[in-house]
């Protein structure tokens, strides 16, 4: 048996898009095979086809050399295929064991669920593969890392031989990532085969044996990981030479625009979500808050923009305190905000482009007068910004935001926020889920804002982006700023250490 899984010439079309175009992927037994591609390259679609969630329009699936049809997840299970979803599919109110046995419950002689023997079996498996869990804990009470181990146990409980990991490290801390990668290596030693879907090159380099690359739904090729390097894989993924560096001139910081002092947010837990945070952002610089997801960056921005209320500390914009002002007052005082989640916060998806363009200014002249909206002025503004920021959509101003591509949605938001020329532009993960072209565009926009003398506060999880775009970098860990460094004086290793809680070398 050369391959346990063969996906041959798979094609899958959705209305308006070819998600998979003649894709071929072959997994050798007892290896880790990475599937690499940008967002929207078709990785998830391909895996969903293998897992039986979608049916391919053309192509063939082979499992252990035999042609098969996988029409639903149960059949995938029967073939020993299991999937760890990117967003965990765990019932929060259930215990670890209940989640693991769901759908395949052991019964005792009265026909009731035999929780005890189930827990024993779970304990046995977790022992064997080194996956520590507390079988009787409820999911809502355990850490993300342990939740992921539960997801893996679900597959092992079902005797899965072929494991699909869909972007498994996105939500983990570096320690948890290390642990996961070593668990994966342990799994293949014990006879399992793994498909690893990711866009993180370092992880591939660390654990994968082979790597197949997808680009915009097309299959680019498969390489042996030890015979290649990150740059080559990146080029395959993006389809051209990737300049890892963004061109920008030296920053010329001027006066302080944003002054944050002792900002604190106490949540329900003992430890504050934001703990005594202080920093300045100057005109003419890009100040970046880096860190692993969930260390308080989101809340920090919410405190500055007014979406949440601090329990202590001050925020000054251009010298005056704004921490007790309403969201709108802060916006008017000179904050532009490109939010983290453009569908949730950035856009009213059922509104048209022009209605979205007006979202921050509809109540002011000339867009409205005496509370009555002037539709002509709204259209004029919208047309102007669409032109200036190159927002592309089917029906121009009248297009519903929902029907636009992610990149153009983001451009519309940037158009709205930047065109108000705020003194402080806050951008939270502005490039998430976008393709390389759009990412470059957005980076250029941020830099040009900086060069025009504005202050830019960038929050990013991607170290590449942090190092490329930012002038100064503050690293957050568990609600605190570990340190602030100049981007030209630091590197990925140092940031990585700070992101996991150690202060800058020599600081102690």
């Amino acid at each position: 048996m050369d391959y346990v899984i063969e996906l041959l010439n798979i094609t899958k079309e959705f209305p308006g898009i070819k998600a998979n175009d003649n894709v071929t992927l072959k997994l050798r037994p007892q290896t880790i095979h990475a599937v690499l591609g940008e967002n929207g390259a078709g990785k998830s679609t391909l895996m969903s086809i293998l897992f039986g969630l979608y049916q391919p329009d053309a192509g063939q699936i082979r499992v252990r050399g035999k042609d098969v049809k996988i029409t639903n997840p149960n059949i995938a299970n029967d073939f020993g295929i299991g999937m760890v979803h990117q967003h965990f599919k765990l019932v929060e109110e259930f215990t670890v064991v209940e989640n693991i046995i769901l759908g395949l419950e052991p019964k005792n002689k009265y026909g009731t669920i035999d929780i005890k023997s189930a827990a024993e079996k779970v304990a046995e498996i977790s022992e064997k593969y080194g996956l520590r869990v507390d079988p009787y804990a409820k999911i809502k009470d355990i850490s993300v890392g342990m939740q992921q181990r539960v997801e893996i146990l679900k597959m092992l409980y079902r005797d899965a031989e072929i494991l699909i990991f869909d972007e498994p490290t996105a939500v983990l801390t570096p320690q948890e990532i290390e642990e996961l990668l070593s668990i994966m290596k342990g799994l293949i030693k014990k006879g399992k085969s793994i498909l690893l879907i990711t866009h993180k090159l370092a992880e591939i380099k660390q654990v994968a044996d082979e790597c197949s690359v997808l680009q915009k739904g097309r299959y680019i090729g498969t390489v042996k990981v030890e015979e290649t390097d990150e740059r080559q894989m990146a080029e395959m993924m993006v389809g051209r030479n990737v300049s890892f560096h963004v061109d920008k001139a030296e920053a010329k910081p001027k006066e302080v625009i944003l002054e944050v002092r002792n900002l604190t947010l106490q949540g329900n837990t003992k430890k504050p979500i934001i703990n005594d945070v202080s920093f300045d952002v100057h005109a003419g610089e890009i100040f970046c808050v880096a860190g692993i997801e969930g260390n308080g960056q989101t809340e920090l921005v919410e405190l500055i923009t007014g979406l949440k209320k601090q329990t202590g500390g001050t925020v000054k914009l251009l010298g005056s305190e704004i921490q007790n002002l309403s969201i709108r007052k802060r916006t008017e005082a000179g904050i532009g905000h490109i939010p983290e989640d453009r569908h949730k916060h950035g856009l009213v998806l059922d509104y048209t482009v022009e209605q979205n363009i007006a979202l921050q200014t509809y109540y002011k002249e000339p867009l409205s007068k005496y509370g009555i909206i002037n539709k002509k002025e709204v259209r004029k503004l919208s047309e102007e910004l669409i032109e200036r920021f190159d927002v592309r959509s089917g029906k121009g101003s009248e297009t519903t935001a929902r029907s636009m591509s992610g990149g153009n949605q983001q451009k519309a938001i940037i158009a709205r926020e930047v065109s108000r020329s705020p003194m402080l532009l806050i951008a939270v993960q502005p490039t998430r889920g976008l393709d390389v072209g759009a990412i470059e565009y957005i980076h250029k926009e941020l830099i040009s804002e900086r060069d025009s003398g504005k202050a830019v506060l960038l929050v990013s999880l991607e170290l590449d982006e942090v190092l490329d775009v930012a002038d100064r970098i503050a690293v957050m860990y568990e609600g605190e700023i570990m340190d602030t460094v100049l981007s030209k004086d630091t590197n990925e290793n140092e940031l990585g250490l700070m992101m996991t809680g150690s202060r800058k070398a020599g600081d102690k």
């Binding site: 997840p73 929060e92 209940e98 759908g103 419950e105 019964k107 009731t112």
Partner: protein
């Protein structure tokens, strides 16, 4: 005081049964993830089916002919079947067609009331349908002799009340102990998780809604064959009271039992407020007793709002692509 309790308890128990069984039906639907505000309509359909069946059976009987337990059971069976079948309309709309569950439930209520009256008039010529002899009130042999408890729980009772309690026990057992229950609850909490474990969410939700129809139908049947004694095309908000009970009981079977008894007790106080000496001396308006359950449910909702109570995916249409 004791005398007052002895007087009111049998009525309160009788009143509790239809509310409780309907609420337990609602529990099964909502724990599977489907909001069912159509309980009122399903009760109406059940009460009509029960009444019309008994009417058909006893139509040609002579005065004085006994109504047997089998006739009553036939009536109740018809209630169950009718409620179950009718609930499939709600299931089809809200599960298969992803319709808004509130609108679909409202449609069920309107359709049920109209259809029951339409058929009643068509078949019998009248929109009202009296049940000549319904379920008899009996003292449970032996148990009714137990001091205090016997007087409260086993005197002047309908056998349907114990039937309902038995069903509640079975529901609790299946829901909390059997694999089926775990799967049903998973569908109400996180259907995508259930689906990824090979559970057919659509099917489970159909079963949940169907059972809610059966039980609400039974509730309507019990209502018309016990103390109401007449089909009038309405159940006077009892279906919505059952919904309140379900919420007040936090979607948990035994708490729902407690809540429905409490609410049943309030209803009984309301009807007795003007005739019972003890209640008359309190001087509280009868409307207060009747409104109290709804008011308390509002209060409970505020208290619950602090932490999530109830199925997480309740009311969401199931989209298997959603992550």
């Amino acid at each position: 005081m004791l005398q007052f309790l002895y007087e009111i308890f049998p009525y309160a128990l009788a009143f509790t049964a239809p509310i409780l069984i309907t609420a337990i039906g609602g529990l099964l639907s909502e724990r599977s993830g489907v909001v069912n505000i159509g309980l009122e309509g399903l009760m109406i359909i059940g009460s009509f089916a029960g009444a019309i069946t008994l009417w058909a059976i006893t139509k040609n009987a002579q005065p004085g002919d006994p109504v047997t337990i089998w006739m009553i059971l036939a009536g109740l069976l018809a209630s169950v079947v009718a409620g179950g079948l009718f609930s499939l309309l709600h299931a089809y709309a809200s599960i298969s067609l992803n319709a808004n569950q509130i609108i679909s439930g409202t449609a069920i209520n309107m359709l049920a009331a109209a259809l029951a009256l339409f058929l009643s008039e068509l078949i019998t010529g009248s929109e009202r349908l009296a049940v000549v002899t319904g379920v008899a009130r009996v003292d449970v042999p032996g148990l009714s002799k137990i001091p205090f408890i016997g007087e409260l729980f086993f005197t002047k009772t309908y056998f349907t009340t114990y039937m309902v309690l038995a069903i509640v026990f079975v529901v609790w057992f299946v829901l909390m102990k059997k694999p089926f229950g775990l799967r049903l609850r998973a569908c109400g909490e996180y259907p995508q998780a259930a689906e990824s474990m090979g559970i057919n969410v659509i099917r489970m939700r159909y079963i949940g809604v169907f059972l809610s129809g059966c039980f609400a139908g039974l509730g309507g049947g019990i209502l018309v064959l016990t103390y109401n004694g007449e089909f009038t095309g309405a159940v006077n908000g009892l279906g919505f009271l059952a919904l309140a009970t379900l919420i007040f009981g936090q979607w948990k079977p035994w708490k729902v039992v407690g809540a429905s008894f409490f609410f049943g007790f309030m209803r009984t106080m309301s009807t007795m407020a003007r005739v019972n000496d003890g209640l008359k001396s309190l001087g509280l308006p009868q409307e207060l007793y009747k409104a109290l359950p709804y008011f308390l449910t509002l209060v409970a909702l505020v208290i619950f709002s602090k932490n999530t109570v109830g199925p997480k995916a309740l009311g969401e249409t199931f989209d298997s692509g959603k992550r």
